[in-house]
């Protein structure tokens, strides 16, 4: 075995690109493990746990740790690494790279944009978002770990400039048909969505799409927007904007339970268009029911939500384990199941220094492999930005779980237009032995049934 450990000072690549590089290197014959990541505390610990001798480094340095069966394999892997890092840089290694803007500020001066999409690490997101707002651009902040006082400040500045701050921790938005962040391919239509919940919005819009109803715009506002402190600043802006938008006939507001005083204030906004609220919480409609109400309001018949039953599901009873990538979907499932241990792998504590589980399945697959008995309920979210082929890694893990006697139920959130292919992903997971539902609520009910809870 040969180890290569290197700290490249001041070399930066984003966590998703590095995850891809790590995966590509690990997949090479003769390479046992490859970890290429920014040298955050988490990643350095990870490398040390793998037995690499990591020298002192800071989060601004690039950590390279490769273990191969021999020196030659190691050298080849190192050469491949350099090739991949060049190819993965923003300009793709072309000479034009030098000319790329270095901040959102300079990009906005050189090019006539309408919106900025910020996904740098949270501690640096404020600067880029500030640039956008100061340049008179609306901004989607995909990054999480942004302090709430900075969020408030940014949203106040945005209001003064007549632009919208979507986020922080905003997973999805669809602006005039363009999907930003994690976004399903939606048919254009008459429903406008304001969402303080990314995966909740993806569930709602995907089901609408499956029912043949399109979306005008989906405006994310960030998970904290309806909290008492943030006070619905962006929700208010977004509702007013959709109320003005000629393409929008009806507005859906998707959120985890809002602070009551904020919910009341939002309710008091005088809007000319009907608003359907999908506010997840005890005693509230689940998201699927809310979608059915929207269809009712539009006079569109409710279809049968597609699902694929597992062949001969084991009658397992036993504990229920929820392994989610979407926070709202996780909350909804836990509410419906009423029991079990649920983990949201998209939560801040799992994403510091690494990619979201909708892109990087590693942590969730590990957790799935550790389940020995009972029922596992998990979500797979399709669309732009997400794992291009989630079933490729998940289906084999499902098969193994089934072999251990574990039943697997999948909530598959997506549309027929999504690049991964809704039906092919469903078929693959179903063949592996999972019961698959396009409605998360239906998936949770099925899981509850399997464990024998009433």
């Amino acid at each position: 075995m040969s180890d290569l450990v290197e700290v490249r000072a001041g070399v930066y690549h984003d966590s998703v690109s590095l995850m891809r590089v790590s995966q590509a290197l690990t997949a090479r014959t003769g390479v046992e493990v490859a970890l290429v990541a920014m040298a955050t505390e988490l990643n350095v610990d990870l490398a040390r746990d793998l037995g690499f001798a990591v020298p002192a480094a800071t989060g601004g340095d690039l950590l390279v740790a490769i273990r191969a069966s021999g020196d030659e394999q190691l050298e080849n892997a190192a050469a491949e690494l350099d090739r991949q890092l060049v190819a993965g840089s923003p300009g793709g290694g072309s000479p034009a790279r030098d000319a790329l803007p270095r901040t959102t500020r300079s990009a906005s001066r050189a090019w006539d944009a309408t919106v900025a999409l910020v996904s740098v690490p949270g501690e640096h997101a404020f600067a880029e978002a500030c640039d956008a707002v100061e340049a008179g651009l609306s901004v989607m902040i995909f990054s999480d770990n942004v302090p709430v006082d900075l969020e408030i400040l940014l949203k106040d500045r945005a209001r003064d400039k007549g632009v919208l701050v979507m986020g922080p921790d905003c997973g999805t938005a669809v602006i005039g048909g363009a999907g930003l962040g994690f976004a399903n391919v939606l048919r254009p239509g008459r429903v406008g969505v304001v969402a303080a919940s990314g995966t909740g919005a993806q569930q709602v819009t995907s089901l609408l799409d499956l029912a043949g109803v399109g979306v005008s715009h989906l405006l994310g506002v960030g998970g904290r927007d309806l909290s008492a402190r943030v006070g619905g600043r962006s929700t208010t802006q977004a509702l007013l904007a959709l109320d003005e938008d000629p393409a929008t006939e009806l507005i859906v507001l998707v959120s985890k339970p809002p602070a009551p005083e904020v919910a009341a204030a939002v309710q008091e906004l005088s809007l000319s268009k009907p608003v359907v609220r999908a506010l997840l919480g005890p005693g509230q409609d689940d998201l699927t029911t809310a979608v059915e109400k929207v269809l009712g309001a539009l006079g569109v018949p409710v279809p049968e939500w597609p699902s694929w039953a597992a062949e001969s599901p084991p009658v397992s009873g036993g504990p229920l384990r929820g392994l989610y990538s979407g926070g709202t979907l996780c909350t909804e499932a836990a509410l419906i199941a009423g029991t079990g241990e649920f983990t949201d792998f998209g939560d801040d504590e799992y994403t510091r220094g690494r990619a979201h589980p909708m892109i990087d399945p590693a942590l969730r697959l590990e957790a799935l492999a550790a389940v020995e008995t009972g029922v596992v309920l998990l979500d797979v979210v399709l669309g732009h930005g997400s794992d291009p082929d989630p079933s490729a890694s998940l289906a084999p893990a499902v098969e193994k779980a089934r072999e251990r006697g574990v039943a697997v139920v999948v909530a598959l959130v997506g549309t027929e237009g999504d690049p991964q292919g809704l039906r092919s992903q469903a078929a693959r997971l179903n063949e592996a032995g999972a019961a698959v539902f396009t409605s998360n609520a239906a998936a949770a009910r099925h899981a509850r049934l399997l464990i024998g809870a009433s």
């Binding site: 923003p90 500020r105 300079s106 990009a107 944009a113 309408t114 600067a127 919208l164 005039g176 732009h384």
Partner: protein
């Protein structure tokens, strides 16, 4: 409310995870990616605090607006004791304040030369003794007195100064007269020829130029600099076009004002391609000074080196200096000199970069790119990268080769910290041993800590 984002086709700036950008490419949504990298180490908290300051955006707009709208005019040439109230034994020097003990070779050499020139010592040894004892000697930074000086930048009472007034905001700034290249005081030389030249400049050049300007009236330096940029100067290491323009403007009046002396004065000015540098520096100084003292502004209003330290001043932080060790320039050397002969970076001439000239305007001066190491593409890249750390583009100072784009002007310490891009500075290189003179010219990087220290200071009330 109407959100403009919802009206037209989306056009997206992406900064961060490349996978999210690629997702837009797959949808054929037009986008511009940002080549984002983490800020200078240890600055993220200070950055957030400074960017959150509600005064910043307007303060910077105001400060850089003043820098851009300044209208520097050369209004006179006068002796330093008259305009600056300099007493015998008092010397101004380049850069942040420095003591004799900490002064580098060329700074000491220039002070020795100034002592000899002022008749305060009869030999270099005596001058050095008196300067070291400090008896009757006062040293202060030029910048504290609306003044700038190239290289050592030593100003003594009998030297004659360009006087430049800002017709827009009413400020005034001063800079000494340029002695030429080679063995000159500003590079730390103090031999007989140096002192004799200074004497001639005081007895002939200064008074003749004074009489000349009285005839011509104020000379519009904003316009002259704008023309020189279009003729291949960057106004720091190349002043050939600007000097030629100055000679054209002044020559007839020189002849009228002093027919007997006109030939030697014009020959001297014409024989020194850098003669305009000092007038340009005073123009840059008076422009940058107009941007001073705007509370909350993170705009750099001075960059200066004393041969030991590189210091900056920031609009929102008054007259405080933020310093780091001066670097050794990277460049070409004259004759047998090499990097081991070079003194660390020295001079107030970085006021040109502060005002959007010099290294920031490198793309305007392809003729000297090899002199400062590199090719034309490097010069364009240098200028282009400076747009990343500046607040504005100069409305009058334009670069033909960049489609008459205005030069990058108004360094913002937050942008320096965010991008890690340090100002590009063109400079002459002084010999490290007192008395040597110029040994080369090249490029130098300021110390990042000067900018991060200023950023920290901006977080404090």
């Amino acid at each position: 409310m109407t959100l403009s984002m919802l009206l037209g086709e989306p056009r997206v700036i992406t900064v961060g995870a490349s996978v999210l950008g690629e997702a837009l490419d797959q949808q054929a949504v037009p986008r511009t990616p940002v080549d984002w990298r983490p800020p200078l180490p240890g600055t993220s908290e200070a950055l957030a605090r400074v960017l959150a300051d509600p005064r910043r955006e307007r303060a910077n707009a105001l400060a850089v607006g003043r820098l851009l709208s300044a209208r520097p005019r050369l209004v006179g040439v006068r002796p330093a004791h008259e305009v600056l109230g300099l007493e015998p034994g008092t010397f101004f020097h380049a850069g942040p304040p420095v003591t004799w003990e900490r002064a580098s070779g060329p700074m000491r050499g220039a002070l020795i030369g100034a002592m000899l020139f002022e008749g305060l010592a009869s030999s270099p040894e005596e001058a050095e003794r008196r300067l070291a004892s400090g008896d009757g000697i006062t040293l202060d930074s030029c910048h504290h007195h609306r003044t700038v000086g190239p290289m050592a930048g030593v100003v003594s009472p009998s030297m004659w100064m360009f006087e430049v007034a800002d017709a827009e905001h009413g400020g005034t700034a001063y800079c000494s007269l340029n002695e030429g290249l080679g063995k000159v005081l500003r590079y730390g030389a103090y031999g007989t020829e140096v002192v004799e030249r200074l004497r001639w400049m005081g007895e002939v050049l200064g008074p003749v130029l004074q009489a000349t300007l009285r005839r011509t009236g104020p000379l519009d330096l904003r316009s002259l600099i704008a023309q020189a940029l279009q003729m291949g100067d960057e106004l720091h290491n190349r002043n050939r076009a600007a000097t030629s323009l100055l000679v054209r403007e002044l020559a007839p009046a020189v002849v009228e004002a002093a027919p007997e002396r006109a030939a030697e004065v014009l020959r001297f000015v014409n024989g020194n391609d850098h003669f305009f540098l000092n007038a340009g520096m005073a123009a840059a100084k008076v422009s940058a000074d107009a941007a001073r003292n705007v509370p909350g502004s993170s705009l750099v209003v001075a960059m200066a080196r004393n041969g030991t330290e590189f210091g900056i001043q920031v609009s929102g932080l008054g007259d405080r200096w933020f310093t780091g060790p001066a670097g050794v320039p990277d460049g070409l050397y004259l004759g047998a000199y090499g990097p081991e002969d070079a003194n660390p970076d020295i001079g107030d001439s970085t006021i040109t970069e502060t005002a959007g000239l010099g290294g920031f305007a490198m793309a305007a001066a392809p003729a000297i790119v090899r002199f400062v190491g590199g090719d034309v593409a490097d010069a364009v890249a240098a200028t282009t990268s400076m747009y990343e750390i500046t607040l504005a583009e100069h409305p009058a100072y334009q670069i033909p080769g960049l489609g008459f784009r205005g030069t990058p002007v108004g360094i913002d310490v937050t942008l320096v910290a965010r991008t890690g891009l340090l100002p590009v500075v063109n400079t002459g290189i002084a010999g490290r041993v007192a008395g040597t003179g110029q040994v080369g010219a090249g490029l130098v990087s300021p110390p990042a800590e000067a900018f991060t220290a200023a950023l920290e200071a901006l977080t404090l009330p």
